[in-house]
Amino acid sequence: MTAPDVYKMKDGRMTDNELVRECLGGKMESYRELMDRYRDHAMAIAVNILANREDAEDACQGAFLKAYRTLAGFDANRSYKNWFYALLSNHCLDMIRKRTRFKGFLRRFRYEDPAAVVAPPPSSAPFEELDFRYLRPLPPKQRMALFLWSQEGYSAAEIAAVLRCTPNTARVHLHRARVKLRTLLEEEKNAGS
């Protein structure tokens, strides 16, 4: 059985799944093509989940490597794009879990005020323009659902495929994100008036 036609490229370029096949055959350049194809998307996803540009770059670097190493396990009947997005979002969530554990570890041994440890690290100067104030109050899965829905036009079923949950759970993530965002916007409006 071949990959569904929906994944075929209309401009004559090779499909993702064809590139994967070539890559498994040992052609490294095919993987470079895949990386170039999804580099911007990957960064946008990682930035929205991690709410930090430098962490997002680390996550993308790690996820591209992980995807390459596990390419043999990719099911050619599925969409490479969704498979990679799922792997990337999982990688980002792992990073957040590790970061939380490390902060907990520091809190146990530090004599300073714990609030100082919890404060988010300052982002580096060139990336100050990215505005994370609406993303940071949301849990990572809600950020992801909100991003895929608003920026990528994903349906609940597609979000579910990336988050590896049921469509109903994806709907709940998205609904909660929209409620929280509305509250934040209202609070900001009230504070301004």
Partner: protein, 134 residues
């Protein structure tokens, strides 16, 4: 009957709109130039290509599964072997093994020092930090 309709919120009033969500999230365009991950990738990856699965009599098994199985065997040996040797040796009651830790005073260079005792949240460890009094 009084008309409640004007006071009832429309469905969706408490939800952010698509446009609001777009403005709240970071788009690809906002990122500007994205780093090229290829050089870092080629440094990290070994030139053999994607990880291969190991062929066994029953089919393909991922290498990590074999690694995990090996690790379990090693842990099993480490845990079980000392237990086998300890069989028959009477163990001390918890009261006998308890350690009483007490500090009356600490001096550094014959000067009274400050002592801080940290107890970890799980109460499994205690740290003592001693400083010269300034």
């Amino acid at each position: 009957m009084p008309d409640h309709k004007p006071h009832v919120k429309e469905y969706g009033d408490d939800l952010a709109t698509l446009d609001e969500a777009r403005r709240a999230t970071i788009s690809k365009e906002q990122l500007g130039g994205v780093k090229d991950f290829w050089p870092g990738f080629t440094d990290a990856v070994d030139e053999k290509g994607p990880k291969k699965r190991v062929r066994t009599g029953d089919g393909l098994i991922p290498q990590w599964a074999l690694g995990a199985a090996g690790l379990l065997v090693v842990i099993g040996v480490i845990v079980l072997v000392p237990k086998l040797f300890r069989r028959g040796v009477p163990t001390a009651a918890p009261e006998e093994t308890a350690v009483i830790f007490r500090i009356d005073s600490i001096k550094i260079n014959e000067e009274p020092a400050q002592a801080f005792i940290f107890q970890t949240q799980d109460q499994g460890s205690t740290f003592v930090w001693v400083e010269k009094q300034l």
